[in-house]
């Protein structure tokens, strides 16, 4: 009986290994949808102290812009009171604008949040040479999607070649992924046809990260 159990366990174990190998070789995603056989690397960029500093600068400019905008809108409210006129802008509209801008600035995933995350990364990066996080962008198709013939999706992730960084990557990715999405207008057009906009597809972000990073590591080794 013991031997039987042991054999059953062994068969199960071998089966798991075989299926995972098949998965790795065919790059087919065993989720609700099936990915295209080929992931096409579009862009890659090594995160360095220098470009992190540039991104921080971009965010600071945006923060400055929105802060000024809020101050000016608040001053409009004062001016409207002091210089009343029927033609003046409606104060309720101004208040709405202030709320909207405050959300962009201080809300969850807002500019202040993003710049703080980048500042933490900047402190974390010791030097440009020995740290190796890449921002990578991939194109892929989802085979069993309704529009699979026409639509190519884009995915970006943060990957490290060094396997020792894998643990750190989980938290870095978690903290920074939003930041890089926010940078879309300033460097990366991630939103364009991104699957983030197509959440109903039902793909898991963490799984996609894994696939993309593994593929990237392989290409790097070659």
């Amino acid at each position: 009986m013991r031997k039987k159990n042991y054999l059953l366990f062994l068969i199960l174990f071998i089966y798991t290994i075989i299926t995972s190998n098949t998965f790795a070789r065919n790059k087919v995603f065993q989720d609700k949808f099936t990915l295209d056989n080929e992931l096409k690397l579009d862009e890659k960029e090594l995160i360095t102290k220098k470009n992190t500093k540039e991104w921080i600068k971009v965010f600071n400019t945006l923060i400055n812009y929105y802060e000024r905008k809020i101050i000016i809108k608040k001053d409009y409210l004062k001016l409207i009171k002091r210089f009343p006129s029927n033609k003046n802008i409606n104060s309720t509209e101004i208040i709405k604008d202030i709320k909207k801008d405050s959300e962009i600035l201080y809300g969850h995933g807002g500019l202040v949040y993003n710049v703080n995350a980048l500042n933490n990364l900047y402190k974390f990066l010791n030097s440009d040479e020995n740290f190796d996080i890449y921002i990578i962008t991939y194109y892929f198709k989802i085979l069993n999607s309704e529009n699979s013939d026409t639509e190519t999706y884009k995915w970006f992730s943060l990957c490290s070649i060094n396997p020792n960084h894998d643990k750190e990557m989980i938290s870095i990715r978690k903290n920074l992924i939003e930041v890089f999405y926010s940078l879309n207008n300033e460097g990366y057009q991630f939103y364009e046809n991104s699957i983030r906009d197509n959440k109903n597809i039902g793909l898991s972000e963490s799984k996609l990260d894994k696939i993309a990073c593994n593929e990237f590591k392989k290409q790097k080794k070659i």
Partner: protein
């Protein structure tokens, strides 16, 4: 609209009180232009800040306070009719006039060359130099900002304009038939021409207006003054239209219109080292589409009124020290002299302070750009003493224009004196009174008058020496 119409009617009535009212008419026309365009458009700064309508409605009243006190000032002067004083009448000789003109011309040329390190390629690169993309290295604003900070930048216009005035007086008075006069005039013209070209190259409309004004008013002078000839003619007399005057007015209207178009052309074409000339009509049609006037002149000057009104309610750091009226006497002092005397940096004038505060407010203090606006006297009056300040500056401007008109009508080429040349130099700024600020006007009058003292001193020394040697000769005989 009612207040503006009332102003125009009163202005026409006052102009009929004056024997010849060309200076008053130009000043008044300038005021009307800024006033009429004030409600039409507003300046948008960085797409973040724009004046609200409530401020514009208040600004219209400020214009009327200024306008009517201006008219009151002119009216008082026409009633007082102050006598003209002749200062240094011995200036009135061919030698003296040509000497002063050539001396100032040379000084102007030296200052101009020194500013650009006596290097013509450097000057051309400074104005037209482009990078690899064909974009001019320095924008006009950057160029002006660099010049204002440069240690070797010397003011050359304050020599150029008096040199031209004196030259034209000499030509008008003594003619060009004499070969000597022709030769001297040609030399002086050659000395001055680089500065005139620089105005055209740089698209410096302010200096071109000053130049045109001085030429216009000096060439109008005759052997007898307006008051002496005492001819007064009106467009409508005894309910009849004077055709000769009507044709004359139509001519003047078209000349002014073409000059106005020319200035707009300069304003739209001078960007990027005159490489925008091909896009002038495109830019013009774009501005018409956005319901903007073809020149930003009026909206940027009128913005200073809007900002002055809003300033107290804006969440921005106010400039602590600037050249308000209580400190203005020291404004013409050069930066280094001011620093030496008062042991502190020379404060900005009100126009520069408005530019700086606007920049800090909209773009933040860390931003390096420099904003500058022509300062409206209404904004200046408001910042100094609110409503009273506006009435006061309006009255002072009225007195000044009235006095200039009064004295100009008494200038005759036969009895030209130093004070007359001072007045003629001052006339250069008349069309600009609504955008120069009183500190700027004071600085211009002071500087152009001051620079003439050196050649006058030399003339006096020569005259004394000649007198002494003549006396000795008589004694010896």
């Amino acid at each position: 609209m009612f207040l503006l119409t009332l102003y125009i009617i009163l202005s026409i009535l006052i102009s009929r009180l004056i024997l010849k009212s060309n200076i008053f008419n130009i000043a008044s026309f300038s005021l009307i232009s800024y006033w009429a365009t004030y409600p039409l458009e507003r300046l948008s700064i960085g797409d973040l800040y724009q004046t609200i309508d409530g401020i514009k409605e208040r600004g219209i009243y400020l214009y009327s306070i200024f306008g009517f006190s201006f008219l009151l000032g002119v009216f008082i002067i026409t009633k007082i009719n102050p006598p003209k004083v002749n200062v240094f009448a011995s200036l009135n000789s061919k030698n003296n006039l040509f000497f002063i003109s050539i001396f100032l011309g040379l000084l102007g040329l030296f200052c101009f060359s020194y500013t650009y390190d006596f290097d013509i390629p450097n000057y051309l690169d400074f104005n037209f130099g482009t990078d690899y993309d064909g974009v001019v290295k320095l924008s006009r604003a950057e160029r002006l900002s660099l010049l204002s900070k440069a240690k070797n930048a010397l003011p050359y216009s304050i020599f150029f304009i008096p040199s031209i005035t004196t030259l034209l007086i000499a030509i008008k008075k003594f003619g060009l038939r004499n070969l000597n006069n022709l030769f001297l005039s040609f030399i002086i013209f050659l000395i001055n021409i680089p500065i005139l070209f620089s105005y055209i190259i740089e698209g410096d409309r302010t200096s071109l207006i000053k130049f045109a004004c001085v030429v216009f008013f000096t060439l109008l002078l005759t052997q007898n003054s307006v008051n002496e000839s005492n001819k007064n003619s009106y467009l409508i007399e005894n309910f009849r239209l004077n055709k000769k005057i009507l044709i004359n007015r139509i001519k003047i209207f078209f000349i002014l219109l073409s000059l106005f178009c020319f200035l707009i052309f300069i304003g739209m074409g001078r960007g990027n080292g005159w490489r925008h000339t091909s896009r002038i009509f495109l830019n013009l049609s774009k501005q018409i589409e956005t319901k903007m006037l073809p020149t930003s002149e009026f909206r940027s000057v009128n913005y200073t009124i809007d900002f002055a009104l809003a300033r107290d309610y804006l969440n921005t750091k106010k400039t602590e020290k600037m050249f308000t009226w209580d400190k203005m006497i020291f404004y013409p002092l050069p930066t280094y002299v001011y620093k030496g005397i008062f042991k502190e940096k020379k404060p900005p004038n009100i126009g520069d302070a408005i530019g700086l505060e606007t920049k800090n407010y909209v773009y933040g203090p860390q931003d390096n750009r420099k904003l500058g606006y022509g300062l409206s006297p209404i904004a200046e009056g408001w910042i100094n003493s609110k409503y009273l300040g506006i009435a006061f500056i309006g009255l002072i401007y009225g007195f000044s224009i009235g006095l200039l008109q009064n004295f100009y009508n008494k200038i005759s080429l036969d009895k030209i004196s130093l004070l007359d040349i001072y007045f003629l130099n001052t006339l250069a700024i008349v069309p600009l009174i609504m955008r120069a600020g009183s500190a700027g006007i004071y600085n211009w009058i002071f500087s152009t008058s001051f620079v003439m003292l050196l050649p006058i001193l030399l003339v006096t020394i020569f005259q004394r020496k000649t007198q002494l040697s003549n006396q000795r000769k008589i004694q010896n005989k």
